[in-house]
């Protein structure tokens, strides 16, 4: 049995520095997801995968999936478990739901992801990040929060390829402008190139607007067999077509290359091959803009432009509306924020809307879209290809 898999509903809580608990945000996300498709009966959901990376550290809660099921008002009978891959937890859960549905282990699976990252004292959030890298080797070097690593990536990319600080700024301005039109995004105000260029220094060359924030919030997506999807929605069907996830190293000393992300090249090749969709056919992309430099390298290693040309590609408007590949049309991590487990699901929701044709800022006639996450010390990459048609 090898069945087609569709996305039938998706929604998210308001993201930001939020009042409330992790379980509050999961309820808000479930509610938004149910409201997205009133034809769907949540009682038909037979599986739940919950994506959360910091639930134990910042909410002191393990065994999270049954808790979320209880609060979301669903009673899974085929799978009810949590998935963790830090910043890619959400898209990892989507991949697993895809496999379960495709193979007949489940018919309708909710994937819900989110975090309450802010603790009553903020220092604890930064401190907890030492668990995100190889704790015993990179954590002890103070490499928990990622700005030093991405500053080094940016420095090397600038040195090798002539990428400019202004190229980084183009990404900040674009993604904050998109977020300002997305009521669920953390940041509701656009920023100008002047503000970006004079932003507070974090780790040179990265300034404030080069870095995504720390965020509370959750998101939820429901996937189903094509057969069920036809009964569950009257909106255009959106298919999940193929995925790839690769890891070639974990500790920083084993990174093959700081400016060419080998695992991303592998993951995207797998996703393009399995979806039978060529990179040239992709119309819209949500990529992991944890830092501005990340989105530039992702344009290169996903294959949208040549190696080293990413800065000039984005500087030329090629990953904005009207360009080759509109990217992070909902604001991305830089604009929406980044509650780790929620991000891959937020990306899936935006691609679903773009392919259905009801996005807030619509890419005309989008037929194929992709999402990308990186996680850890640039240690794993995850790529998912969605489409309006099956190949």
């Amino acid at each position: 049995m090898d069945r087609n898999v569709c996305v039938v509903a998706g929604g998210m809580s308001k993201w930001g520095v939020r009042d409330g608990s992790q379980r509050d945000f999961f309820q808000e996300a479930a509610k938004a997801c149910y409201d997205d498709n009133p034809l769907m009966n949540p009682k038909d959901i037979d599986g739940l995968l919950v994506a959360s990376a910091y639930t134990e550290r910042t909410s002191y809660q393990t065994h999270l999936a049954p808790l979320v099921a209880e609060y979301a008002g669903i009673k899974p009978k085929n799978i009810c478990a949590r998935v963790e891959l830090l910043c890619a937890s959400g898209s990892s859960a989507v991949i697993l739901a895809f496999g379960l549905i495709k193979s007949g282990q489940a018919d309708v699976v909710m994937v819900a992801g989110g975090e309450k990252l802010y603790t009553p004292q903020k220092w604890e959030v930064f401190y907890s990040e030492l668990a995100s890298v190889d704790h015993d080797w990179d954590g002890g070097q103070g490499l928990g929060l990622p700005p030093p690593a991405f500053a080094m990536v940016a420095k090397q990319h600038m040195k090798q390829f002539g990428t400019k600080k202004e190229h980084l700024g183009v990404i900040s301005v674009k993604n904050r402008r998109n977020a300002a039109k997305n009521p669920k995004a953390q940041f509701q105000t656009p920023v100008t190139m002047e503000e970006v260029m004079s932003g507070r220094m974090i780790v040179p060359p990265l300034t404030l607007y080069d870095c995504c924030p720390i965020t509370d919030g959750a998101a939820a997506l429901v996937l189903a067999t094509e057969e069920k999807a036809r009964e569950m929605t009257d909106k255009p069907l959106v298919y999940l077509l193929g995925t790839g996830q690769a890891s070639v190293n974990n500790m920083s000393a084993n990174m093959p290359d700081w400016t060419t992300w080998e695992a991303l090249k592998i993951a995207s090749a797998q996703a393009y091959m399995k979806s039978r969709v060529n990179v040239d056919e992709i119309n819209v992309a949500m990529t992991h803009d944890c830092f501005t430099i990340s989105e530039i390298i992702e344009m290169e290693d996903l294959g949208f432009c040549k190696k080293g040309e990413g800065g000039f590609f984005v500087g030329d408007g090629q990953n904005d509306f009207g360009g080759r590949i509109p990217t992070n049309t909902d604001g991305g991590l830089l604009g929406c924020g980044h509650p780790f487990g929620g991000t891959g699901i937020r990306q899936g929701i935006e691609v679903m809307k773009q392919l259905r044709g009801d996005a807030i800022q619509q890419v005309p006639n989008a037929t194929f879209g992709l999402t990308h996450n990186l996680s850890g010390f640039i240690a794993a990459h995850t790529v998912l290809v969605y489409g309006k048609e099956v190949r």
């Binding site: 401190y127 490499l143 928990g144 220094m201 780790v203 040179p204 000393a253």
Partner: protein, 162 residues
Amino acid sequence: MSTPGISILEGKYMVTMDLFPQQSKEFNQVTPFYEFLREGRFTTTKCKDCGAEPFPPRVMCPECYSSALEWIDWPTVGTVIDVTEESVGVPLGFGKPPLIHALVDLQGKRTFFVRIINCAAGELKSGDQVKLAVFDVDPVPQEVGREVVQIPRVFYAFEPVK
């Protein structure tokens, strides 16, 4: 100047809040790495069967899956490729900003992204030499029978060769 290994625990030790690895043999099988560090040596495990030198040190070779490993010395002096200085978001326990890191070519063994101590902001640049710097960090109160024994620990960074 940054200060290595400042205690933030104020007498209330919690393993889940610890910046540094557990180093006693009861909690770690690469204890020799830390014992060698005390002697100023930077070591890893080499596979006796295939010759691979994985880092971090292992109990199994990730290339040929052999368990026949031996400890070998690696260089303790490397060359700076580039430097970053973190002024915002430095985790507690890593001193006052900036927290300095450098990408260091350890004589072709690996390219390490490591903390630099005993170094002023703006002092280090590409091409400079840095050397291993070992310092004491908080001991771990560990139960041994009915007693609680303080297990001393060390960790490492690099510092400019002056």
